[in-house]
C-alpha cells in the first residue's frame, strides 16, 4: 500500500531514531509514542524519549507468504522485541531463519523497509540484528 509522503515523513523521528515518549509522572515508556498516558490519563506529563533500541526477542516467526510490498523479500524473520525500557515492538530481524530464538539479545540497525513500486517513495526504518 502506498503511503503519502507526509504520512511517512511525520514518522521519521520514530522510525529512524527510535524517538518515543515517556510519562514523567509514572515513569512508563511508550514506543510507539503515545501522547496520552493510559495510567495517569489527564494527570500525566508526556515528553520525548530516545530509546537505546537494545532489546530481547519475545516471540518470532519466519514470513514465507507476504503481502505485495514484501513478496520479494521472503523468507524474512519477524519478531516481537521487548526494548530494555519495557515497551514491545514488532520488527524484522536481520538474521537467518534458523538463527532466531526466544531470549536472543538484539540491537537496532537502520535499513530499507519497503518501497512504493519502482519509482515511488523508499521507506526506511529500524530492523534488529543479533547483538553480539
Amino acid at each position: 500500500m502506498a503511503l503519502s509522503v507526509a504520512r511517512f515523513w511525520r514518522k521519521i523521528p520514530q522510525r529512524y531514531n527510535l524517538i518515543g515518549t515517556t510519562c514523567t509522572r509514572c515513569g512508563r515508556y511508550f514506543f510507539q509514542p503515545r501522547s496520552f498516558c493510559p495510567d495517569c490519563r489527564r494527570a500525566g506529563n508526556i515528553v520525548d524519549h530516545k530509546f537505546s533500541g537494545k532489546g530481547t526477542v519475545v516471540t518470532h516467526t519466519v514470513i514465507r507468504t507476504a503481502s505485495e510490498q514484501f513478496e520479494q523479500m521472503t523468507p524474512y524473520v519477524l519478531a516481537i522485541v521487548q526494548l530494555d525500557e519495557g515497551p514491545r515492538i514488532t520488527a524484522q530481524l536481520v538474521c537467518a531463519p534458523d538463527e532466531v530464538c526466544i531470549g536472543m539479545r538484539v540491537r537496532p540497525v537502520f535499513r530499507k523497509i519497503s518501497s512504493d513500486g519502482d519509482s515511488g517513495v523508499i521507506h526506511y526504518g529500524t530492523k534488529y540484528a543479533p547483538a553480539d
Binding site: V58, T61, T65, E68, E71, I80, T90, Q92, I113
Partner: protein, 387 residues
Amino acid sequence: MRDVAVIGAGCTPFGEKWNSSFRNLFVEAGILALEDAGVAGEQIGGLYVGNMSAGRFIEQEHIGALIADYAGLASHHIPATRVEAACASGGLSFRQAVIAVASGMEEIVVAAGVEKMTDVASGASVDALAGAADREWEGFVGATFPGLYAMIATDYMNRYPLTREQLAQVAVKNHFNGARNPIAQFRQEITIDTVIRSSLVADPLRLFDCSPITDGAAAVVLAPLDRAREFTDTPVRVLASAQASDTITLHDRRDISTLDATVAAGRRAFAAARLSTADIDLVEVHDCFTIAEICAIEDLGFCRKGEAGRLTEEGATALNGDIPVNTSGGLKACGHPVGATGIKQVFEVVQQLRGEAGKRQIEGAAIGMTHNVGGTGATVAVHILGV
C-alpha cells in the same frame, strides 16, 4: 430491555464464487433468511451489515444503503447501517441488531454479514487483511496476519505443552465437520499428515493451519421474543450479547498467548446469561488459524491454559465430544468471508438448536455459543443462544 429472538437465518454456500458479485451474495443470503423467517420485506424495520473491507476488495464503500437498495428496500427508506470491526464485523453487526430490538427502537431487524474477497489478487487480499492489525507498527514492517498468529503459536508452544500433531488435529477435526456441512468451502476430510506436510506460511503455521480466502454472505432476522411465534414455531432466544476490546497491536498485549478480550467478553456473556461453560452444548469459535482455536477454548474458560491441545487430541472438541467446537467446520473448513463469519456462526448455532444440522447434529443441543474475533484479539464478540 426486551428479550430478543432469532426468527430466521440464511447463508450462501461459502467458497470462491467467481459467478457471484458482492450484491448477488448479499441478496441470496437475505432472501434465504427472510423466507426462513416468513417475513416480508416491508416488515423489516432496520438492517445492519457486517463488512470488513469492501473498499479494498471491490472498491466500494457505503455498503448499508447499497445492500438495502439491492434487497429491494430502497422505497421503504429503512435505516441501513454498516458495522466494521475487521473479522469481527459480523459478530458486531449481530450485536447492534440485538441492541436495536432489545431497546425497543426497532422491531423486526436483519443482521447480515458479507465479504467478496476473490475479486483482488492474493497479495492484495493479504494486504487488505493486514489492515485488521496496526498498519503503522505491524503491517508497515512486513507483519502479515498469519505471521502475527504464528508469533502467538511460537510463544504458546514455548510455554505450554502443545505438539505439532495436536495443533494439526484442530484442522483435521474442522475438516471432518466441514465435510458434513453443505455450505462449507472445503468438504474433504484431511489427515494430520495433510497439515504437517503442507507448505509453511509463517513458521510454525502451515497452509492447512490457516483459514482460506472466501466469498460469502449470511443473514439472520431478529424480533422481540414475545412476537417471535407470530413468525416461527422454532424461535432461538438470544441469552447474552457481549463485546470487548484490547490493544490493536499484538505486541502491546498483557500476554501474547491470551486474548484478554475473549476472556472479558466470555465472562460478561456467562454473567448476563447466568450460565457457565458446563451449560454450553456447542461453541463456534474464531479459528482463523489452528492456534486461535486452541487459545479460544481456553480463554472462554472451557479448560485451563495449556490444556486445549490435549483436549483436542482426545476428541473432547469433536462432534461426539464433551464440548463440540466448530460443528460448522469453523473458519478453517467452512471458509472465512471475514465480514460474514460472525453471522455464519449464529446461523450454525440456530441450525443446531432447531435440530436441523443433519450429519453434524449435536443430539439435544439446547444452548450454543459464538465467539468472533477482530484482528489478533483487539475486538471480540461473544453470544449465547438458547431454545
